[in-house]
């Protein structure tokens, strides 16, 4: 797949604190690439360095063979995390201003704006003043503003924050559709469940460092092993002695058994000892969410598991 954006060895320090360590990844045409990480991990800083709003201390950003100041900014769409709109202007005026800044033909921009307003349930709002919009409507207008010029690369910093579930779905659908039509999409988020459903590849970052960088499928098969939750009166030693159990977490009556990678679930279930006290038993997979929380807390099963299996 054609590579649209390459980020190589990005380093950045604020005062004496290093906030980005050797960040390297790329984004391909027509894919959704997610940067995931807890607050303060360096997601927005990475994105701002890509957008040329900040300059990295080291490393480089390449967009279609262009670097640094030569990057054609009108081919990139950007929705920052801290975003807003001018208050006392009309919706259409501000969308057209964004289009003009990107050198996009105004007539075409107007048509597209009307199409998108309709698509997002804002038909007839083009002549309404921005200050009359609700927060959700404002977010939709900002989103339209970032894609009005048909960018080749769309960078979305926390696109779902502050959205209600209905609007989240609308955005998700639209982002998927844009990717299907060939737009390269880089989005950052801390809402795993949303990202899990839509991204093709992900880059998980914590304290400015790469934790995981892989396709969603591989991440899931590598890290999202099965876990078995048992309610019952059992000792940790007994549970740990069960085959293919890598780790046990016990909280009173409830125990979680983290299973090794690649097990056959039905045959594993047969290996459970007969004297086990089972009131309730549940088997499911470790979700991205859990990996993420562990990363955020610095505990990181991902690292443990990754250490064992990477």
């Amino acid at each position: 797949m054609e590579t649209v954006l390459t980020v190589e060895g990005l380093e950045k320090s604020f005062k004496n604190t290093k906030v980005l360590h050797n960040i390297t990844f790329d984004v391909h045409k027509g894919e959704i690439m997610a940067i995931l990480g807890p607050n303060g991990a360096g997601k927005s800083t990475t994105i701002r360095n890509i957008m040329g709003i900040m300059y990295p201390d080291d490393g480089c950003v390449t967009f279609h063979n262009h670097q640094g100041n030569e990057i054609p900014r009108h081919k990139i769409g950007y929705l920052p995390e801290e975003r807003g709109l001018y208050k006392n202007v009309k919706v259409m005026d501000i969308i057209l201003y964004f289009a003009e800044l990107k050198d996009y033909p105004l007539k075409k921009a107007k048509e597209r704006a009307i199409q998108y307003l309709e698509k997002f349930g804002l038909e007839g709002k083009e002549n309404v003043s921005v200050e009359e919009l609700s927060k959700g409507m404002g977010q939709k207008v900002q989103f339209i503003g970032s894609i009005i010029h048909e960018p080749e690369l769309l960078i979305l910093d926390e696109p779902f924050s502050g959205l209600d579930p209905v609007s989240q779905d609308v955005f998700k659908q639209e982002i998927k559709e844009l990717a299907n039509n060939g737009t390269a999409i880089l989005l950052s988020s801390h809402q795993m469940n949303l990202v899990e459903e839509m991204c093709d590849r992900l880059f998980m970052i914590n304290r400015g460092q790469k934790v995981i960088y892989d396709s969603l499928k591989d991440v899931k098969s590598k890290y999202a092993n099965f876990k078995c939750t048992i309610l019952g009166d059992n000792s940790v030693q007994q549970l740990e002695s069960i085959n293919q159990v890598s780790r046990v977490e016990q909280d009173g009556y409830s125990s979680v058994l983290y299973l090794e990678q690649g097990i056959e679930l039905p045959s594993w279930l047969h290996t459970l000892p007969n004297d086990l006290d089972i009131v309730e038993l549940k088997v499911d997979r470790i979700s991205l969410h859990e990996i993420f929380i562990d990363v955020a807390l610095g505990r990181s099963i991902a690292e443990e598991v990754g250490g064992t299996y990477a």
Binding site: R48, M51, G52, I53, R73, H74, I76, Y78, L79, P80, E82, R83, G84, L85, Y86, K87, N88, V89, K90, D93, Y97, F98, E100, L101, K102, Q142, G145, S146
Partner: protein, 415 residues
Amino acid sequence: MRNSIKVGKWEIKRNIKNKSFIISLFLTPLIFLFFATVPNLLSGNDYDTTTTVYVNDQLGTFEMIEPIIEENNMMNWDLTETNEELPAVQERFEEEPNSAYIQIDEHTAENGVVTYVKGDDVSPQFSNQLRIIEQPLKQNQLQSANLTEEQLELISTPILFEAADGNDESKASQEETATAEIGMVDPFESGIPAAFAGLVLFSIVITGMMIFQSASQEKKDKVAEIILSSVTPGELMQGKILGYFVLGLIQVGVWMLFAIPIAIYMLDDVPVLQYLFVPETFILVIIAILGYLLFAALFVGLGATLEDASSGSNFQGMVMMLPFIPVVIIGPVLSDPSGIVAQVGSYIPFTSPTILILRLAILDEWPWIEILIGIAILLVSIWLFMKLAGKIFKVGILIYGKNATPQEIWKWLRA
């Protein structure tokens, strides 16, 4: 530059479409008009109503008095010559309460006393206004005293006070000639271009403050980052300065639409337009524009450090006050437009636009060297302030949720 123009166009467009800008655009001159006219309307019944003044003139001064009254716009007298004596007129006042009677006779010539009677409705200022006929009466008195021409001239020349400077004879003589010419030089000739330039300066200092608002609002609305994904911080800043400059000019244009017809109407015999379109206006306007650029740089940088103007620290408040420093030294400059305060004021960038315009309006001989030095200092300061503002703007505009402290600003400046 193309991006700056786009930003500038946007700033113009969104302000022009903004109701509060339009209202203030038209309201400001109306408020000026209001304050210029209403106090007069309230106190000036005598403007509207004509007082009939009967003059019983036995000395033949009526012909001298009549043109003086007619030329004076402040007095609305309808002069009528009469032969009636005082007792006969007294009855008439009951029918015509807004009329007065003046008796000029031998008694006036000998003792310098004019007897008058006025009706109930005549303005209380009438007795003061009467002073206007003092001069022709005095002249009449002197003429009848059989004095020679020389004596007459001596008596009628007022006493002048001249400051002599022992070290600088040329200056003394210069002042002498200036004093001598005072009667001949029309104050409007240099006043009108200066008033125009002052208006330009005033208007653009106001729009300069709007730049501050705009930069601060940009931060508050969090639009900056979206805009900065398309243009550089430098272009955004330049665009704002450019846009508000044009807005300032539009403002001046609209105000002039009000001011010129009013000036032409009020100053009947002054060729307003002829005085306005002179090369001096051009230089004065250049000075005003330089003043704008300086304050625009200052305000755009300042605006980028403040999210909420009302919670700014003392430091930012002090910077906001800079355009008003000239007010402090305006007194000394007016009393001595070539003095040391005026000269120093012309060299300090924050005061020089106002002080230069003020001095050039008063002085007949322009101090070209001082003007050029003042402009040169202004140009260098503008360059410097634009650089510094750029540094502050670049970092400040992207900081959300707090106002920058002076220490932070200092750090950005050194970066």
